[in-house]
């Protein structure tokens, strides 16, 4: 529960409100996280928030942070050389080994591409272990797409399609909802494992689209976002029915969480 000091080794503005920080331990490193896990990042004097892993390279952790509140504002304002507290890694990540020998469908909406990025890195590192790989990305507009240069490189080794909500005429990609891309993704649905991350509404519709294609419910995985505070399943802030999202998730199989996600807060 005690944060470990990391130093900002590199910082990159992804979007006007979104920054990627590469963090190197000042002394002892935390255990290496797996794709889909998260760390609690502590902006000293401000507070602590759960942030998904965006990548890992040895002891260096990459986290992409969007400025949405006081703590993320402080994290985004960090400069190279500044220190941040880190504790983790926490939660259950993507179960990529179960997709070995199968087709892989990755669906990312907005900032949901962040926790999928290390999964995609692992898919590419062992590309021969998977069948067809389709990546469907959705965003508000072309200017709000993340990791654009990297995504272009990924397209050399997987089928990448992008849909935005609105676009100027110069945009050559698709315009529409990301779920529409799933209908035409080049996969064999019954032999596909799907990994989905984005806003919860998007994930509900994306999971439904994957199921409509014939992907089994037990092979659709979503990464949930809840108000995670302790990150170890004690405080209950992130409880979703029988699940503690911080500990049992954030990645959970669709057939385990669909009933809870169908409950409306009225």
């Amino acid at each position: 529960m005690v944060p470990v000091a990391y130093r900002v080794e590199r910082r990159r503005e992804e979007l006007p409100d979104t920054v990627t920080l590469w963090l190197r331990p000042t002394a002892q490193a935390l255990p290496t996280p797996t794709p889909g896990q998260f760390n609690m990042l502590w902006a000293f004097g401000v507070g602590e928030v759960p942030i998904s892993l965006a990548g890992v390279d040895g002891d260096v952790l990459a986290h992409t942070v969007r400025r949405v509140g006081q703590v993320t504002e402080a994290l985004c304002a960090l400069a190279e050389g500044d220190e941040v507290g880190v504790r983790g890694p926490y939660g259950a990540g993507w179960d990529l080994p179960r997709a070995a020998g199968r087709d892989v469908l990755v669906v990312a909406g907005g900032l949901g591409l962040v926790p999928l990025r290390p999964l995609i890195h692992d898919v590419l590192a062992g590309r021969h272990r998977f069948g067809s790989v389709a990546l469907c990305i959705g965003a508000r507009s072309p200017s709000e797409l993340l990791y654009t240069e990297e995504v272009s490189r990924w397209a050399d080794e997987m089928d990448v399609t992008i849909a935005v909500d609105t676009a100027p005429p110069s945009w050559k990609g698709r315009v529409g909802v990301v779920t529409k891309l799933i209908a035409s993704a080049g996969i064999d649905p019954t032999l596909t494992t799907a990994f989905v991350c984005g806003p919860e509404v998007m994930m509900r519709f994306a999971a439904r689209a994957a199921l409509d294609r014939g992907v089994p419910p037990s092979e659709v995985f979503v990464s949930l976002e809840r108000n995670m505070a302790c990150a170890i399943g004690h405080c209950g802030h992130c409880q979703l029915g029988p699940h503690f999202v911080c500990k049992d998730g954030p990645v959970l199989a669709w057939d385990r969480v669909a009933p809870q996600l169908a409950v409306r807060a009225r």
């Binding site: 969007r66 949405v68 909406g109 907005g110 900032l111 959705g138 965003a139 508000r140 709000e144 849909a163 909500d165 609105t166 676009a167 100027p168 005429p169 945009w171 050559k172 990609g173 698709r174 315009v175 529409g176 909802v177 990301v178 779920t179 529409k180 035409s184 984005g198 806003p199 919860e200 509404v201 998007m202 519709f205 976002e225």
Partner: protein, 154 residues
């Protein structure tokens, strides 16, 4: 060479229709090709022909006075462009521009409407199928309205 009737028979919107139906519908069809930048539909123009896209990619646009044309949706291979031909006043609502070289089966709207009037069973079946298409587009449009990727949608 594959006939228009055969091409229609392989399309989800037309497959499984009663025998002879696709030949009947194909009688209203022709092959059409569009260069990049060419318009397939123009807003407010008479909805004389709609398109079953075979190849390429089309942007559906709305022109705005200050921001110029905005792309509100795109359609690609296998999709159907145009539903306003079905109901009065038979006018297109949006522009549709080929983003890349595009091939389509163009179906004459008044020809097909007349055949549907003559064969109500075929007309009902066809309109049911188009209703599914319209439902899917409506759901997609509503999702776009939600601003799915905004912070408030989380």
């Amino acid at each position: 060479m594959t006939s228009i009737a055969d091409l229609l028979a392989d399309h989800p919107l037309f497959e499984g229709l009663p025998p002879g139906s696709n030949e009947l519908i194909a009688g209203c069809g022709r092959n059409a090709h569009f260069a990049t930048g060419e318009y397939l539909l123009s807003a407010d123009a008479s909805a004389d022909e709609f398109f079953v896209l075979r190849r390429g990619h089309v942007a559906i646009e709305v022109d705005t006075p200050r921001r110029g044309p905005l792309v509100v949706a795109t359609l690609g291979e296998g999709e159907v462009l145009g539903v306003s031909w079905m109901l009065p006043p038979y006018r297109w609502t949006f522009d549709a521009r080929a983003v890349e070289p595009t091939s389509a089966i163009a179906l004459d709207a008044s020809c097909l409407r007349a055949k549907c009037d003559d064969d109500p069973a075929l007309g009902y079946e066809l309109f049911k199928r188009f209703a599914g298409l319209v439902r899917n587009r409506l759901q997609a449009a509503r999702l776009q309205l939600v601003d799915l990727y905004g912070n408030d949608a989380s």
